[in-house]
Amino acid sequence: MAEQKFTGTRSYIATDDLMMAVNAAVTLERPILIKGEPGTGKTQLAMEVAAALDRPLYEWHIKSTTKAQQGLYEYDAVARLRDSQLGDDRVHDIANYIVRGKIWEAFASDVQPVLLIDEIDKADIEFPNDLLQELDRMEFYVYETQELVRARHRPIIVITSNNEKELPDAFLRRCFFHYIKFPDKDTMAKIVDVHFPGLKKALLKESLDAFYRLRDVPGLKKKPSTSELLDWIKLLLAEDIPPEALRAEDSRKAVPPLYGALLKNEQDVHLFEQLVFMDRRSRTQ
């Protein structure tokens, strides 16, 4: 297999440290854990890695009720019970009722796949511990059919976390770790550029200024993130808003237009309007 390195893609700007972490994880076939503010492209990373290295992608999205076992397989006892009552012949083979989970699917892949375990912190505290053996040895045992499932190719595992719960040490020790920092203005300009090539310089500068000013407002429940900035610029373009309208010096229009795309929370919008109001009053005095 030719040595492949992840260097970002045409639609994804990867910083040096991110590339290093991903390449180390790919080379050593260890999971990589990605943390960072919501909307900084954690989930996107797995898709981009799969696209860049040309691998199939399996996505496992975790919810608060997800159990580790569901990623391996599930035994659908209820279906079997129903079939037995209806006299279906399938009922005699238990293997008919073993439903494969995402990890099994990834293990069975013909080429080395990318497996995304998204928002692992949403699940129960014990969840990561239940997956230690599977992630380490890349194999698990199906008790119902007495079968050992082993990965044909160790998948590239990307795990994301929003830091809602602390992850156990034993789990962390097995992963590479990367924290996606909120991009600085230069990186952000590059990111915007790959999404909106040929965006007018003036609009880019003014929108970024307005965006970072808004992020600096203290007390926001949810600070706007990269994905919200991109949505907002899309709207600005669609509405054909001139860059001058975004300038803060213009006190009559200090609220950036279409700010509903950036602030997703009633209280935040309220707080922001209040601040603008106070600001205007202090200027007129």
Partner: protein, 391 residues
């Protein structure tokens, strides 16, 4: 060769494990990293440091190691140069000498003078009677004696008479890993649980299944219900430092228990009394403060507010603007606590001081009045009472 870097990291409090270290070596061997220090820096961070809050510490250790100054990292934790204020000698003064030291005018003048002198003075200082340092008779510094002195960098109160604590010593964050003795507290806190079924239906409802199956002429009809979760939300405000030093143990127990019991637990620290801002990290409490207004804005009225503090202080700290021992507060603590109570009607104060002493401390009486008598001792039985008051 790199092994000493590993031990330096462990000593510096990052504690990578042996398996992580071996992973890093394997990665180096496989040639993932090029031959630049930057590559190594990123690779080692991603392999060894699994918590972004430790990145800063890692940076400093890394810098210290690769500058070849192995011991520079020992000063990591301190903000002020440690030896500048380190206690070298203690000054023992006789009573006459103490009497000779006159107070240097009013309070305001004292603070003004401190600010000026901090600016003038650049080096470490010890003894003498003017510069700020240790074991002297200047009104600024520690381990010395001046009846109106300002304390800087002293690990425990010696005379407890300093007018103002301008103390940048490290207030340790409460350790929530204390397990011993937390079980009783956990059991008490458990009474605060309020269960609600939420989320996906993933549990078999046996009674309903039997009922529906019978109605379905014996054909199975499976019924599911969502799991039950603890839906209680708690906002915990903890007093640290000063007179609370005596109660650290019981507060850590309380904090540990609360951390593991509640899914929605937010905590903030304060010193003696709540004012216009609180903080989350005692190591950076001077740099990172959260305005109290922001807290009431962020957490809804469904949160239950729990103060933990001994409420033992000078009554001025509660009722007068500018009474705080740490800073100049524009509005009195009483105003701030009333704002908090207006936002969170379900609130209690837990006091580690024994109940018998409450009546002899004016500030405790004041606080009790402000709390509408909802103050309870920080004992298991006191917690029981407190939880009932919260319902």
């Amino acid at each position: 060769m790199l092994n000493s870097f590993f031990y330096l990291l462990r000593e510096g409090g990052i504690r990578p494990s042996l398996s992580e270290w071996l992973t890093l070596l394997a990665a180096l061997k496989s040639g993932v990293a090029g031959h630049s220090v930057d590559d190594f820096y990123y690779l080692a961070r991603s392999a060894l440091v699994k918590d972004e809050t430790l990145f800063d510490r890692y940076d400093r250790i890394f810098a210290a190691y690769f500058r070849g100054a192995d011991d520079a990292f020992r000063d990591l934790v301190r903000e002020l140069p440690a030896d500048w204020l380190e206690r070298q000698a203690e000054l023992e003064l006789s009573d006459e000498e103490r009497a000779q030291i006159e107070a240097l005018g009013g309070f305001e003048k004292l603070m003004e003078a401190l600010r000026e002198r901090l600016e003038e003075q650049k080096d470490r200082h010890e003894g003498g009677s003017r510069w700020i340092g240790t074991a002297g008779t200047s009104p600024f510094g520690a381990y010395g004696y001046n009846p109106e002195g300002v304390r800087i960098g002293q690990a425990g109160s010696r005379h407890r008479s300093a007018v103002k604590v301008w103390d940048r010593r490290e207030f340790r964050n409460l350790d929530d890993t204390v397990e011993l003795g937390t079980r009783n507290i956990k059991l008490a806190l458990r009474k605060l649980r309020k269960f609600a079924r939420e989320g996906a239906a993933d549990q078999l409802d046996l009674d309903d299944t039997i009922d529906k199956t019978a109605r379905n002429a014996g054909l199975l009809d499976i019924r599911m219900v969502p799991e039950r979760h603890n839906a209680v939300k708690v906002l915990l405000c903890l007093d640290v430092g000063g007179s609370m030093d005596d109660h650290v143990r019981v507060c850590e127990e309380m904090f540990s228990a609360a951390r593991s019991e509640f899914k929605h637990l937010e905590y903030y620290y304060f010193h003696n009394f709540v004012y216009e801002s609180l903080w989350k990290d005692n190591r950076r409490r001077h740099a990172e403060r959260v305005p109290t207004n922001e807290i009431t804005h962020k957490y809804g009225a469904d949160y239950k507010l729990i103060f933990v503090g001994d409420a033992t202080m000078s009554p001025y700290e509660i009722v007068y603007p500018g009474g705080s021992v740490e800073h100049w507060n524009e509005e009195a603590g009483a105003v701030w606590i009333q704002r908090l109570l207006a936002t969170y009607p379900k609130a209690i104060w837990l006091n580690p001081e024994p109940r018998e002493r409450w009546n002899f401390t004016p500030s405790i009486k004041l606080t009790r009045e402000l709390m509408d008598d909802r103050m309870f001792p920080l004992t298991v039985s006191g917690l029981d009472e407190a939880i009932r008051a919260l319902h």
